[in-house]
Symmetry: C2
Subunit: 239 residues, 2 copies
Amino acid sequence: MSKADEAGEAGEVLNEPQVGIAGSRVDHVYNRVKEDIFDFRLLPGDRFTESQVADRLKVSRTPVREALYRLEREGYVFVHFRNGWSVRPFDFVMFENLYELRLVLETAAVRKVCDGPDLARIEELKQVWLVPDAEHVSDSLRAAELDEAFHTTIVDAADNPEIARVHNDVIERIRIIRRLDFTQGYRVERTYEEHAKILQALLRRRADAACSLLKAHIEESRAEVRKITIHRLQAARQS
Amino acid sequence: MSKADEAGEAGEVLNEPQVGIAGSRVDHVYNRVKEDIFDFRLLPGDRFTESQVADRLKVSRTPVREALYRLEREGYVFVHFRNGWSVRPFDFVMFENLYELRLVLETAAVRKVCDGPDLARIEELKQVWLVPDAEHVSDSLRAAELDEAFHTTIVDAADNPEIARVHNDVIERIRIIRRLDFTQGYRVERTYEEHAKILQALLRRRADAACSLLKAHIEESRAEVRKITIHRLQAARQS
DNA sequence: GTAGACAAACATGTATGCAAGAGGATGGAG
DNA sequence: CTCCATCCTCTTGCATACATGTTTGTCTAC
């Protein structure tokens, strides 16, 4: 997250704690490696060692190991017993399954929200999604954030932190391909339309309608993402 | 050769590897601490240090740290910055939420199985659950395992490893209170009846009926477990 | 040229040493 | 007695040293 501190002092011999305000070294390594995976600096299937990461990030192997085991638990890398690490290969079946899980969670949330008494947290979404086309966000990265926020807000409104946590993990894991969709900008306008329809169904407490729309929305997004991912991955392999 | 010779000749008892056949020390520590939590040798809210665990299990702090951070990610313990560790306090709201999440996942699995073409993996359940009362398992721990297997098998039959993994995590996290239910033996017979009914609905592909039965089954189990847990926890606190 | 033995390089797993910070104990001032 | 500053202990965070096992390249026998 903090790219500034890498350019700092270089040459202390012994321990250089100096951590100060920044987060722990483990967090730093975790974020950096994750970014490397998401930005395709580490390609699916690539092998690497703890020492390589430690040298590059100027820390010892100890925090590197903790960060890598965390990433392993989250499904981003594999550890090979006494034989290095590797980035988890792209597994489209896994992404299909994650999309299905996501749909299950969001559908459950929609039904719970429609049955529940409080639409207050849903009302806030109107300010973003029920507006004229002219006011749509043009920055595609910002649009991707808004898209995630839409789905996350619905799940949060269902008022179950455990479901929200799992949903967050799923969203995070498919972000590696979702971001490609939005950086291309293909589906930004469609997303606005579909979200608006879902929102209207939600506000009218039409659970069945909202679920059907949600399902179609996620299915289309998934199909689009898959196409783009294959294309992008080939490009990354060639360079 | 050089380093080994020097260390050996000096005769100090430095490292004592001796790991032999057993798994890694991290796994060992992980399992032991988790058992301590599940068996209430470590009570919710108890504080402890890495050194205490390391001394007791005769290992160094390094594998202890990795095991504890793993338990922390899984939600069993808290780490207090430079100030020790503690067992996560009992949070009944969290358990309610986990039961709800579990119901969402299992319901989705039931619907997918009913819609799908393959009931083969469900058929196997008949051998356990559609038998006369006389043949029911009397060992309560074994009964608890069978109960978990019933639910897990249904989710597995839905053929989505990501959903299965999350479901597994949820089952594991609520096992700490579920086991109390079965060791008391209160609900063993009821469980047989309810599972048999759910199974029959499943085999007839009556998704709605199966889901209602499943919901009632889980709700009853949850309510019973909650009562017993409070009671048991008070007993553990007094001793 | 090929197969097998063997050793060196290298990877992770584990133990240990050191530094910084959190929190309680202590002691003096009011 | 109470309050506050200070110190000291204890605990984690990180770096480093060492042990063990895997891979790989080479040398030799055939």
